[in-house]
């Protein structure tokens, strides 16, 4: 029987690989494949085959003392992951198969154990791929690639078996009348007991905990090293340390020493899983159905439906039946984006930002905490400007699967485009204004001596004016890309995987960055001109707001032209070609 399952697995992988190679005939995949391949080479393989340089330097840092610390830290991370797997899940054991596998394998004369073996076999594909990827990433830090690969494989294989075993154990407990909450309480009691033992030992054996001692990273590291490598914790973490030890082995001999216990743990987990006699079929059918729904949603471009079941959400405001129709799309997309974008929430955030800035100003006095936090807020603001569009997709990208319905609406194409962009633009602007208040609030007092509060006020005003327009422009770029290259866009988000798809995403990202820079040039030029002129004539305080107004006018014209262009693109967007693509 297992040979049939092996046949299925082998041919599924083979056919999928052949299909991916064949689709390289299409330019969109070929170009994506080349770019993705180059990225992989430059980022990963160059260090694998070329001069290690930085990697060896990093390897030197792994002294025996550090290794013991890393081993304990790794074990602690694994413990956290395993605890989460025991505490949070509430469903009965379910092995996720595809709908085809359910249809063919469940009615077939295959034992439950056979199905488990098939599942374990199939999960090895994902484990091996993850192992390869992580080996490429971690190999940049130095060490031997094969040791890292084997180490990662052991860690993921044991974790996989443990997750499966814990789900079986959970089901068995439920069958015996032990509810999820009873199980959770039991596990949490055990965790508290372990924590109490460690804390009691630390209080008795370690010097008293004084925050003033932890001014530098070395002091923190020393303290962590003592807690993790002495007392009860190393014993409590011992089985998990055995799991991470092969990965951290500095040489082949150490790896071989570490391999035996880790393999024994792997076999023990395997025995646990295959000996568990738990009925998983019913829950598996349901899980498979949900998986199929997710896949269908992703292929249709509906990521929201794929991520979670939509919940009923309150309208952000009452939509009147008459008025600008674009507002209907804003209203719809705000509901789609969730209740998080209600006016009340933004007012609350703004008040919170003001209070936090003032409060920190009072508390930190002259310390460097406020500028540091201000810098973090400023960076987050810039980051949200550049990357935020990838997270807030309540626009054409979300509605593309319903493009045929949108096209039946009696709206001008620019109205549709504007309506589609408004919700993510409003949400992003809200986030950035919140961060802006924090930035200005945090820098205001600390840097007042250098710039003066009128300058900070002007800066805040100018940024607040420019931000929504920048958001509107940045949102137009991925939307235009989705309408211009629907086949690429669908391929990139249609659940497809592989280097070529990664390459497509890279091309999109770079294209977006380039288009954004080009859009900024005229506004930046005018800003600079007005700024220097006004600064010379009036002074710094007026220079920033006036230059910002000038830049905002340019950006507004660009945004308006962009909306018209986007509308034109949507008008020309051939739904039939898109679905065929």
């Amino acid at each position: 029987m297992i040979s049939a399952l092996l046949y299925l697995q082998y041919h599924s992988i083979r056919n999928r690989t052949v299909m991916r190679i064949k689709r390289l005939k299409q330019p969109k995949y070929l170009v994506g494949g080349i770019v993705g391949g180059l990225y992989f080479y430059w980022y990963f393989f160059r260090t694998l085959f070329g001069t290690p340089g930085r990697g060896q330097a990093m390897a030197l840092l792994a002294s025996p003392q550090n290794l013991a610390l890393y081993e304990s830290v790794g074990a602690l991370i694994l413990l956290t992951i395993l605890l989460l797997a025991w505490i949070f899940p509430h469903q009965r054991a379910a092995l996720t198969f595809t709908e085809a596998e359910v249809a063919f394998l469940f009615p077939a004369p295959i034992s439950r154990r056979g199905l488990i073996h098939f599942k374990l076999l199939r999960s090895q594909t994902a484990i091996l791929f993850t192992t390869l990827l992580l080996t490429l990433v971690t190999n940049r830090l130095g060490g031997k690639a094969w040791i890292h690969a084997a180490g990662w494989w052991l860690i993921f294989s044991i974790l996989n078996l443990h997750f499966l075993g814990s789900s079986f154990a959970r089901t068995m407990l439920l069958d015996r009348g032990i509810t999820n909450w009873q199980r959770r309480l039991g596990i949490l009691a055990l965790v508290f007991l372990m924590a109490a033992v460690v804390i009691i030992w630390a209080r008795q054996a370690m010097p008293a905990f004084e925050p003033s001692r932890f001014q530098n990273p070395d002091a923190i590291k020393d303290y962590a090293h003592q807690v993790l490598t002495a007392g009860p914790l190393p014993y409590l973490l011992y089985p998990l340390r055995l799991v991470v030890r092969p990965y951290l082995a500095p040489n082949a001999l150490a790896f071989l020493y570490a391999l035996g216990p880790a393999l024994l743990l792997l076999l023990a987990h395997y025995w646990w899983v295959v000996r568990s006699n738990v009925a998983f079929e019913e829950a598996s059918v349901e899980a498979s159905r949900k998986l199929a729904e997710k896949v269908a949603a992703v292929r249709a471009g509906n990521w929201q439906a794929a991520q979670r079941k939509p919940r009923r959400k309150r309208s952000p405001f009452k939509l009147r039946p008459v008025g600008p129709p674009a507002v209907a799309l804003l209203w719809k997309n705000l509901i789609g984006a969730g209740q998080a974008y209600s006016l009340r929430m933004w007012v609350s955030l703004a008040v919170l930002a003001v209070c936090a800035s003032v409060g920190m100003g009072q508390a930190a006095g002259g310390s460097g905490l406020r500028p540091a936090l201000g810098m973090v807020a400023a960076m987050l603001m810039c980051w949200s400007l550049l990357i935020g569009t990838q997270f807030l997709r309540q626009d054409f990208r979300q509605d593309l699967p319903l493009a045929d319905i949108l096209k039946t609406y009696p709206l001008r194409s620019w109205q549709l485009a504007l309506g589609e962009l408004l919700a993510p633009a409003a949400a992003l602007t809200g986030i950035q204004w919140f961060l802006l208040i924090l930035v200005v609030g945090l820098f205001w007092q600390s840097a007042a001596g250098k710039m003066g509060w009128p300058c900070w006020l002007g800066l805040g005003f100018g940024a607040a004016l420019i931000i929504p327009l920048l958001d509107l422009i940045t949102l137009q770029i991925p939307n235009a890309a989705a309408l211009l290259f629907p086949a690429w866009f669908q391929a990139a988000k249609g659940g497809a995987q592989g280097i070529e798809v990664m390459g497509q995403r890279l091309i999109f990202m770079l294209g977006q960055m380039l288009a954004f820079i080009v859009a900024l040039i005229p506004a930046a030029g005018l800003f600079a001109g007005v700024f220097f002129l006004v600064k010379m004539l009036v002074g710094m305080a007026m220079a920033i707001p006036l230059a910002s107004i000038a830049a905002a006018i340019v950006l507004a014209v660009e945004a308006a032209l962009g909306v018209m262009l986007l509308g034109w693109l949507f008008e020309r967007f051939d739904v039939s070609a898109e679905t065929a693509g």
Binding site: P310, P321, P410
Partner: protein
């Protein structure tokens, strides 16, 4: 020249729709009246996908209260035709007029008059039934839509599901919601693509009744379906497409006369097979 049908209700409707215009003595030839009499006018509609001809030089008219069945084998171009007629995809060539408005030149006015119901109800996953109606009301600027929406929800028996999301509705209910949304702005032209798919027997009966009711009220309707008995039952006119070409158009009686092998053969299924077969093409 179009002649006004002997239907007082229809005449009143034409007069109402054109209030504000003083008809000339020969009002039967007035362009606006003609537009109203020919709710859907299609001339030389052609749609190409690359070199593939999906619809080829198609022309027809649908008048108020007419229900036209669009039938044909798979790949005949039925859905493409409906998509062109509703403004979803642009035709490669040809003209489409909806209630006198050119769909290419004045799409907004044309789209205000029509509703398209695809074979699968297309709804927003995150909007409730009530929110769908509010959204559509704003899009179509339907002032005081609430009583109309309430009536539609009652009529379609989904009034109890006002706060439900599409994911919480059965397929039939989703279709009812799509219909409620489509009818909210009182369209004068309606297209149905396989309207009975997924409906239970009661739903099928109600759908047929609803279509006929709208037709009686003067709406021009096109139904694309493979269910020939449905087409035969509720359509006043039939258009048979094959490979994007019109191979027959007229009332059932006219088409039967054209394709029937022997006197008395009035079964649309037989006529359809004959019309779409090689013999039918030769007869053309």
């Amino acid at each position: 020249m179009a002649k006004l049908p002997d239907d007082d209700r229809l005449r009143r409707r034409c007069q109402f729709q054109t209030s504000g215009f003083a008809f000339a003595a020969d009002w039967e030839t007035h362009p606006l009246a003609l537009g109203l009499l020919r709710m859907i006018q299609v001339e030389a509609l052609t749609k190409l996908y690359g070199e593939f001809v999906a619809v080829n030089e198609l022309g027809f008219e649908v008048k108020p209260s007419e229900v036209m069945g669009l039938v044909g084998p798979n790949g005949a171009g039925k859905t493409t035709t409906l998509r062109c007629l509703s403004g979803i995809i642009p035709p490669t060539r040809g003209n489409i007029r909806i209630c006198g408005h050119d769909l290419g030149q004045d799409p907004i006015a044309a789209k205000r008059e029509l509703a398209f119901f695809p074979d699968e109800p297309r709804l927003f996953d995150y909007l409730t039934v009530e929110q769908h109606l509010a959204f559509v009301a704003r899009i179509y600027q339907v002032k005081d839509y609430e009583p109309v929406a309430d009536q539609l929800l009652e009529e379609l028996e989904i009034a109890g599901k006002r706060n439900a999301l599409p994911g919480e509705l059965s397929r039939g209910m989703k279709q009812k919601l799509a219909i409620a949304c489509g009818l909210l702005h009182a369209p004068r032209v309606i297209y149905f693509d396989e309207p009975l798919t997924g409906l239970d027997p009661i739903g099928i009966r109600r759908m047929k009744d609803s279509i006929l009711k709208r037709a009686r009220e003067g709406t021009a309707i096109i139904i694309s379906s493979h269910l020939l008995h449905l087409v035969e039952e509720i359509c006043s006119h039939i258009l048979i497409l094959k490979d994007g070409r019109k191979i027959a158009h007229g009332t059932l009686a006219e088409i039967t006369r054209e394709f029937a092998a022997q006197a008395g053969e009035t079964n649309l299924e037989e006529v359809f097979f004959r019309a779409t077969s090689e013999a039918g093409k030769a007869q053309q």
